[in-house]
């Protein structure tokens, strides 16, 4: 009997629950849009279940004592994401499916490679640090770099579009965990000269912000850094100074960089009653018809969901006509949350956010259980990065903060994001297994 309730068996049980939910999700999309999609859609559910069972089997072998909730929750989030992406455009869902396969393969590889002791990563910390910086500046390179939606975050290699910033996030967390574990005693003394690294990283983040025109990534990296610094040193003053520096930098960026200025203006005044200058057309227009139409339509999408939502497959994302017009550009990446909120309503959106909260709670529990500094910092850093990224994109969509285009972990369409988050998941499971094995 004990074997039945073992950690991995529970994981398998939860995965089965997720499999059923996925099947129900695809079935409702199929029913709602019968004329447009085929029975093949149910194949997705079976395929995903098989994929996650494979991931489970690897976990069973490599990290038998790891937390049993994280993998099913990641499975649920990817399933919700791919169901909605499928509903928005079946061909994108196929690509997303491929990326999830790649993500699961890399997840399995990471578990198998590092199952003896992932702490070897500590020895390569500067490799990770340099790697993170290289990845971050890749989009700036002339041939491969690409500007999308005003921010330079993409790399184009052959048929692939990558957002290397996503992988840089994971690399940065590994580097910081190792670096801070080593330097924490020194930093904790709080001498002025030891503030050097803080300033270097602040400068780095500001550079990222300026170079990529992207407030969100800057906030994400700097937020992760401050959280990990605080965990390592217990000095709240660092956090206060850090936030002050970030606000100062952000203010300068607001003053000097047109793109950042525009994002903030849109955030504060998305609607105007009088016509204002419209940079896209060069003429005058109401701001909701010009710069902020994406945000405004996304808010309309969320609001129209109401309490119970339109139902999967029943939402409105296209203005019919010749040709039909997409209501919200980037709806399956940056704005996937507003699509989900319209179709699932407050009940569904809140449930989705609760899954994110549970994921964060489990991740932080692993950090608490781990017994060495590197493991604690790594688990807490990965989890906090996951939480902060969720907050930045959903908070942007909900107008809590200025909107910046980053992905919703596991849910948004995008290969690099899926891969990076599976590596993040592998890291958490590795730490969890080790903490539970001793």
């Amino acid at each position: 009997m004990a074997a039945l309730t073992s950690t991995r068996n529970r994981e398998l049980f939860y995965l089965a629950v997720v499999g059923i939910l996925t099947a129900v999700g695809f079935a409702s999309v199929y029913i709602a849009r019968r004329s447009l999609v085929s029975w093949d859609s149910l194949g997705y559910a079976i395929f995903f279940f098989a994929l996650y069972v494979a991931a489970h089997l690897v976990a069973r072998r490599a990290v038998p004592n790891a937390d049993p909730y994280l993998l099913p929750m990641a499975g649920l989030l990817t399933a919700v994401g791919v169901t909605e992406i499928y509903r928005l455009g079946p061909s994108d869902a196929f690509k997303q499916g491929l990326w999830i396969v790649i993500g699961v393969v890399l997840f399995a590889a990471a578990l198998l490679l590092l199952r003896r002791d992932y702490r070897v990563l500590e020895q390569y910390k500067y490799l990770f640090g340099v790697g993170a910086i290289v990845l971050l500046f890749l989009p700036r390179l002339p041939v491969v770099g690409q500007t999308v939606n005003g921010a330079r975050l993409w790399v184009h290699v052959g048929p692939f579009q990558l957002q290397p910033g996503e992988l840089a996030k994971v690399a940065l967390i590994v580097f910081l965990a190792a670096y801070l574990r080593e330097k924490r005693e020194v930093l904790a003394q709080g001498r002025l000269k030891d503030l050097g690294p803080l300033l270097v990283i602040w400068g780095g983040c500001m550079l990222v912000l300026v170079e990529t025109n992207d407030l969100g990534s800057g906030l994400l990296y700097f937020g992760i850094f401050l959280a990990m610094l605080y965990i390592a040193t217990a000095r709240l003053s660092y956090v206060v100074v850090g936030i002050g520096l970030f606000l100062a930098g952000g203010f300068v960026a607001y003053e000097k960089i047109a793109h950042v200025h525009e994002r903030v203006t849109i955030w504060i005044h998305p609607w105007t009653t009088h016509k204002v200058f419209c940079p896209q057309t060069g003429g005058l227009a109401l701001r909701q018809d010009c710069e902020s139409y994406q945000l405004v339509r996304s808010l309309y999408s969320i609001a129209s969901g109401g309490f119970g939502g339109a139902g999967l497959g029943k939402g409105t994302f296209v203005i019919p006509g010749h040709p039909p017009v997409q209501l919200i550009p980037y709806v399956n990446t940056d704005f996937i949350y507003s699509a989900l909120a319209q179709e699932l309503g407050l009940i569904g959106a809140a449930a989705l956010l609760l899954v994110f909260m549970l994921f964060v709670a489990r991740g932080m529990k692993i950090a608490l259980q781990a017994d060495d500094g590197f493991s604690k910092l790594l688990a807490a850093g990965l989890t906090f990065g996951f939480a902060l990224q969720t907050f930045i994109i959903v908070g942007g969509v909900l107008r809590i903060i200025p909107l910046t285009g980053i992905t919703l972990p596991f849910v948004s369409y995008g290969g690099s994001s899926i891969v990076a988050n599976f590596l993040l998941l592998a890291g958490l499971l590795l730490v969890s297994h080790r903490a539970n094995s001793t």
Binding site: S304, L327, K376, A380, F384, F391, L398
Partner: protein
């Protein structure tokens, strides 16, 4: 490190909890406001999956708006069609994908899309949704009468102006016409929309056919406003119906002479000794100027407010398609309410920055007709479910108590005198006692007037009341150009009125 990790966890969870709070805000709290916004394309498109309710004229048979079904991306979409091609266009309005909605299509959208909160409709919508059936909206039956509305529209054609006719006892609006008009079927396409905007018009400068002149058009009321001034004087017992006045042909205000209307020989009319009725019957400005000075601007404006001035008449149209009447700052086009800076003599005969809507002046006449009570004007008679059962029926409701019944009875006599022997004789209908008041408002351009006629009939048991206004009338006096249209409308509606 665990203490810090716990704190960071708490912080991270609070960040995510804030997202749930914000989602709740947008989906529960802010949702109705966003759904009502004109630029909400999602709401608009989603509503095209709903088969909107039909709109009928008062006969319950003439269809003013229906739907055309088209398939798009595997969905049934319903597009609006207006079979009458421009009957009461500004009142019905339009519902399009590209250009949002206007008129009753906008203000009664909840009924038309079955999203009103009546229990029967909610149940219907729920079962439709669970069955996957198309949601069908409720039908509107208006008070507009087909024949009289058509008469008003053709009488106004070629001019800019408006006509409103309603039942003074119930507030039911029988006619609401605004000229120039447009064909709502043209609104959706860019070319059609441009053709409406560019159509040549009788009143350059304020030509938009999209404007509902009956409720939004702001005009100088001229002498029709003497009705309000007289009501103020009678109600406050400053003058009685038998008060005598001397008319020298002018009135002196701030040391300057304000002349009466001119005789054909270019001398000012002068009536000498007259009583109150005669002053009203012949619309003598000099007498009303002195009455205004005696009353003061505040009393006149207070009386006007009792008639509904300074508030929007609570008719079923969208709030921004109804304008309040009152004193306007012409530069800023904004209402102001300060009797201290108004010339009471000129105010008394309806000049002096006073701007009114035809609907408001129809309500003034209706107030006199209905013993001093102004009823809430209603365009909608009833709302019925697609199956035909009654969802809502409009009940007559008092909006304002404008004056005492006694004052109303006196003014009734005054207004009858205008038609029997005064400035409004062209509104006479054999066998029916008609009451009315002309207005010929100065526009600032020589010999160009805004011509008015406000009326009700039969005077002993009023069934209709209304206002007709024509803009830009060269030497056109209210009694000569507006009164005949009013006569046609009364004849069309009143049973037993001879039609010749």
């Amino acid at each position: 490190m665990n203490k810090q990790i716990s704190r960071i966890s708490l912080f991270a969870l609070l960040l995510l909890a804030a997202l749930i709070v914000a989602t709740t805000y947008w989906q529960a709290w802010a949702a109705p406001g966003l759904a009502a916004r004109q630029d909400n394309a999602i709401e608009r498109v989603a509503q095209f999956e709903i088969r909107r309710g039909l709109i009928y004229a008062a006969d319950g048979k003439t269809v003013l708006a229906n739907n055309v079904r088209r398939k798009s991306a595997g969905q049934n979409l319903y597009f609006r069609h207006y079979p009458t091609n421009g009957f009461a266009s500004q009142v019905i309005g339009y519902s399009t994908q590209g250009r949002s909605r206007a008129g009753l299509e906008r203000s009664e959208n909840a009924y038309l899309t079955a999203s009103n909160a009546n229990l029967g409709t909610i149940w219907q919508r729920l079962t439709d949704r669970l069955r996957g059936a198309t949601i069908t909206g409720n039908n509107l039956i208006l008070n507009l009468k087909v024949g009289p509305q058509r008469i008003a529209e053709s009488a106004l054609r070629g001019n800019c102006g408006a006509a409103v006719v309603l039942n003074p006892k119930t507030g039911a609006v029988y006619v609401m016409a605004s000229s120039p008009s447009y064909n709502p079927n043209l609104i959706e396409s860019n070319a059609g929309y441009a053709s409406i905007l560019k159509a040549p018009s009788a009143c350059p400068g304020s030509s938009s056919a999209l404007v509902n002149r009956a409720t939004q058009g702001l005009y100088t009321p001229g002498s029709t406003f003497k009705t309000v001034t007289a009501a103020a004087a009678l109600d406050d017992h400053v003058y009685g119906p038998d008060s005598g006045f001397y008319d020298p042909g002018y009135c002196t205000e701030y040391g300057q002479r304000i002349s009466n209307a001119l005789n054909p020989d270019q001398t000012a009319e002068s009536y000498g000794n007259v009583n109150f009725l005669q002053a009203y019957e012949h619309s003598i400005n000099a007498v009303f100027c002195n009455i205004g000075k005696a009353l003061g601007a505040k009393r006149i404006l207070d009386k006007a407010k009792q008639f509904g001035f300074y508030s929007k008449p609570p008719i079923e149209l969208p709030s921004d398609e109804v304008a309040p009447s009152g004193l306007y700052n012409l530069q800023q086009h904004r209402l102001y309410d300060n009797p201290a800076i108004v010339d009471p003599g000129r105010l008394a005969f309806g000049q002096e920055h006073l701007l009114v809507t035809p609907l408001q002046m129809a309500l003034v006449a209706a107030g006199v007709a209905n013993d001093g009570r102004v009823m809430v004007p209603h365009l909608v008679k009833e709302v019925r479910s697609p199956g035909g059962s009654l969802v809502m029926k409009t009940k007559p409701q008092v909006w304002k108590q404008a004056m005492t019944p006694k004052t109303a009875a006196i003014l009734n006599q005054f207004m009858q005198a205008v038609v029997t022997g005064g400035t409004g004789t062209q509104a006479q209908i054999p066998g029916i006692k008609v009451a009315g008041k002309t207005g010929t408002a100065e526009t600032g351009r020589p010999h160009v007037y805004t011509a008015w006629f406000i009326f009700f009939a039969p005077a002993d048991n009023p069934q209709v009341a209304g206002a007709v206004v024509l803009e830009n009338q060269l030497n056109g006096f209210g009694g000569a150009v507006a009164a005949p249209i009013a006569k046609q409308l009364m004849q069309a509606i009143l049973p037993g009125a001879s039609k010749h």
